[in-house]
């Protein structure tokens, strides 16, 4: 098991390394370059000055050399300066990560709290009217363009009913917790509505599959009550694949909330990534993208570990004799 974990961590680091190169190369292909941006701000800079500056920053070297230098600095914890925020890129990243964690964390927990019980519930009455309705609603959720859902919610609750603010985060520290929460309602609702469908359909499918298994029928035949069969036998096994899938998706949520954050002016990772790319803030874009990749990789790693840990053959036999 330890060996497996070490293997997977090494693999993930390798992917991260490859990705850092790919992203570095892609960022270099973005419109404009740092020196051009400096020049545009100062009309007195001549072409010779520009060339000298480029040489100074090493921008005239081959890509591989520049990447090597960047990597060396990055491994030393030096990710350069953010143009937009006028502070070190890592420092700029910090608050965004916190904002995103709050937003993503709450909507993640909320959507699981709704999706998993609902998925189990409809799995016990497959193809009934409730199941069909919920199923259609799930399809609606996963088919919804995220920015449009945000627009609809803003139109209804901020523009129309004027119940809630359309976005942003109160900047003054003296506003109360209630006001802060009010700002969170719409973005959290958007993210939650977008996530529920996928989780619910997966939970339902896993549960139906499990309920089909022989050992469930055996338990029923042995006279276990329906609730007991559902909870003790089926749910535990059905949860395994669900946990894996949920963990797989979790890492992606941090950057996947990009649209929601942008629509509601929520200062999180996604918005930071978009702003830094659109604003030619290459250092920040690079470190933010790498961090987003790292989070996805960690999610995948956790999914693999959860899968190994929850392996149904192991867990079922070990726990059968328990209380």
């Amino acid at each position: 098991m330890t060996r497996y974990i070490v293997d997977r961590i090494v693999q993930s680091l390798a992917v991260l390394l490859v990705m850092s190169f790919v992203i570095y190369g892609l960022i270099g292909l973005m419109p404009g370059d740092p020196v051009d941006l400096m020049i545009s701000a100062d009309p007195k800079v001549t072409a010779e000055d520009a060339a000298r500056l480029k040489a100074l920053y090493g921008l005239d070297r081959p890509l591989l050399t520049r990447y090597g230098n960047w990597l060396k600095a990055a491994l030393g914890g030096e990710f350069g300066y953010s143009r937009l925020y006028a502070k070190p890129a890592l420092v700029a990243l910090g608050p965004a990560l916190v904002s995103t964690t709050i937003l993503v964390g709450i909507s993640f927990v909320l959507s699981l709290l709704i999706a998993l019980p609902a998925g189990v519930w409809v799995a016990t009455r497959p193809d009934g009217p409730a199941d069909r309705t919920v199923n259609l609603a799930c399809f609606a959720g996963v088919s919804m363009p995220p920015f449009w859902l945000a627009i609809l919610l803003i139109l209804t609750f901020a523009v129309g009913l004027r119940w809630l603010p359309a976005g942003g985060v109160p900047t003054r520290s003296d506003v109360g917790l209630g006001e802060q929460l009010r700002h969170m309602v719409l973005p959290v609702a958007t993210l939650t509505l977008l996530q529920i469908g996928g989780y619910l359909r997966f939970m339902r499918a896993a549960m139906i599959e499990t309920l089909r298994q022989d050992y469930i029928r055996t338990a029923q035949a042995k006279g276990a009550g329906p609730a007991r069969v559902l909870l003790k036998h089926a749910l535990r096994n059905a949860l395994n694949p669900v946990v894996t899938v949920v963990a797989l998706g979790f890492g992606g949520l941090f950057s996947g909330a990009l649209i929601t954050e942008t629509m509601f002016a929520w200062p999180g990772m996604g918005k930071l990534i978009l702003d830094s790319i659109m604003g030619n803030d290459f250092n920040l874009a690079l470190v933010a993208l790498l961090f987003a990749t790292l989070l996805v990789l960690v999610g995948n790693l956790l999914a693999d570990l959860a899968y190994a840990w929850l392996d149904p053959r192991v867990s079922f036999t070990e726990r059968e004799g328990g209380p």
């Binding site: 270099g28 088919s143 919804m144 920015f147 449009w148 992606g252 790319i277 987003a292």
Partner: protein, 303 residues
Amino acid sequence: MSEALALPAPGDGFLGRLGRRPLAVASAAILALLAALALLAPLFAMLSGIDPNAVDLLQRLEPPSAQHWLGTDDIGRDVLLRLLLGGRVSLFVGLTAALASAVIGTAIGLMAGYWGERADALLMRLTDGIIALPLLPLLIVLAAVDLTKLGLSAELAGSETISLYRIVAIIALVGWTTVARLVRGAALSVRTRDYVLAAIGQGASPWRVMAVHILPNVASPIVVATTLSVGNVILLESVLSFLGLGIQPPLPSWGNMLTNAQELMTSAPWLAIWPGMLIFVTVIACNLLGDGLQDALDPRAQE
């Protein structure tokens, strides 16, 4: 898995099974209708005598009228016509990118599954690597890449056509992994069958073995995955275009028609409703059709 039954011949109950899924049938009908309307959009433009790109600042944000059935946008263009033309773009991008993904995925999956060993390990690492990427930010980066730095002329790089093909290309570039995994799995399992060995023993080339013996076995999962991915592609295209990184105006797409919607929400909410509604309807129709196809093509679901 009994692959003998995995792809029933058409007419052999398949259409019947699909027909028993009213949602899937309705979805197919809606998609056909949307496609027909989108295809005929230039004809409508001609018949109505309205130029969908004509800016008319005297007719900004008009409410629906006899001339402009769905009103006009913030620079006075006819919303209905632009919706139909945008549909052409969105459906074109959805179909071509999904098909391109399917082709790339099939090729990679076949190579990995048929030759196995090192090629398989290498290609599957690549697939895992791509799956492990934060998709949306990566697409944004790819969409923001300055094509003149790749050697394209500034004129070409800024053209409407390039914005169209670029989005197809970048989505296909990251979208092939699902099909690749499906095809690889099937190729791995079929490759060891005696009938494949028999064909090799008769002197069949690897291409023939793949085309005659392996591909038909994965045809139905590929069809399902591609149908589902059309919806996803349309969603991604709309997101990128909405952010201003996809289809470039004046070429309309459902996504870029919403770009300014947020500012105009109070004055002209209909501008925000229609394009999003069409994206939503198209995507949900693709998903429901894909789901219906999956059930109709999978005999296990009949039990």
